[in-house]
Symmetry: C2
Subunit: 222 residues, 2 copies
């Protein structure tokens, strides 16, 4: 969410995208259960923590294999490892950041990416006043260096934190450099080829869909 509201439908045989979107949730809760020292968990217990039906969890997992034991449930440690492997989280990913304004700097300072294996290893900006500034272990690069750097550092994921007016253009540049996954913070509806995945973070859209319910609630009480 949030995320684009548009979900790709699954071709026959493929795993539905809604399922993929839930797997990271499962993975996160399992990680927490592991820290709490729990060794085995049932789909029922997992569902309670996530507000998801047990049947859905079992069905989701069944797309990928048979990870449970009847009568017992799932080994927390084992299921977590399996999910991380399925999601490609059993490795580190180098990430490039485009846009080092106010938002971009907040993202550079955000401590939540690294522990999950997402390492920001390069930053780009077109503003000459920002280019050359040093953040941690790297220096902000001009946009011309985008393609060379993504290849040199094997960057497959980019974060877009430029103003809305420039975001579409940047997304296209990223695609040309071979980037396959983009986390977009700009408030736009991005156009992109289907082989590039884009997810948008858009707090205003989230607020705007909640006010619908607030309005409905205040009308009921009339």
């Amino acid at each position: 969410m949030h995320d684009s509201a548009v979900l790709k439908r699954a071709s026959p045989g493929e795993v539905p995208e809604v399922v993929i979107l839930r797997l990271p949730l499962y993975s996160r809760v399992l990680a927490q259960l592991l820290r709490e020292g729990m060794e085995v968990v049932s789909s029922q217990q997992l569902g309670q923590r996530l507000q998801v039906t047990p049947a859905q969890i079992r069905k989701d997992l069944s797309y990928f294999g048979r990870f449970g034991k009847q009568g017992r449930g799932y080994s927390v440690r084992h299921l977590l490892l399996e999910l991380k492997q399925i999601l490609g989280l059993d490795r580190e990913w180098n990430v490039g950041l485009v846009g080092v304004g106010r938002l971009g700097r907040a993202i550079l300072g955000y401590p939540g990416f690294a522990p999950e294996g997402f390492k920001i290893v390069a930053a780009f900006d077109r503003d000459p006043r920002v280019v050359g500034q040093v953040y941690g272990a790297f220096t902000v690069q001009p946009m011309e260096r985008l393609c060379p750097m993504t290849h040199a550092l094997d960057i497959k994921i980019a974060i877009v934190a430029v103003p809305a007016e420039r975001a579409q253009e940047v997304i296209e540049q990223l695609a040309e450099c071979g980037i396959k996954a983009i986390l977009n913070y700009a408030a736009i509806a991005p156009q992109h080829s289907p082989d590039v995945k884009v997810r948008s973070i858009d707090p205003v859209l989230s607020l705007q869909s909640m006010t619908y319910h607030l309005r409905a609630a205040s009308r009921e009480s009339t």
Copy 2:
């Protein structure tokens, strides 16, 4: 995403939640078209901008009324006004912020909320070193002031920017104060009663669902 992947299903007669989630997208594009000076738009044109089928747009709008003219399309200005009214965006909303750490301060500085009618009018923190600090027109309050302030300022929406460990507790406190909509930035799966709406902004979940596709892509090429 970003947003929770879990959608509530529509009870018969209700508008499906997926539809509500798309309305703000329509509203945003219409606002842009209005600025560009366009007066009339067809569902086809709108769909092209949003990567949504024209039939879906027409069906979505039909839940709320008949806003178009056959043979012509929709008046950009009129449809925008209707959508804003439907979404409850024809007014300002006072918003409370809980958590004035690094992230909370970034949110306070974010210029995207106010132009959309979301006005942060109070901030709270439990850390005595943060309480009393002044941001713009208001002073950071202790958590004890949460309920009194939400009532005094008619706050119905809150933003949660506290560490994950404290987020569940804060969400419960907010619910007790009568808050009905929460934008949650903490990386948790929040538990809450169905009459409180919660949307989560979670960039890590978005990244984690994209790596699935990256992994799949690198496997294909083997």
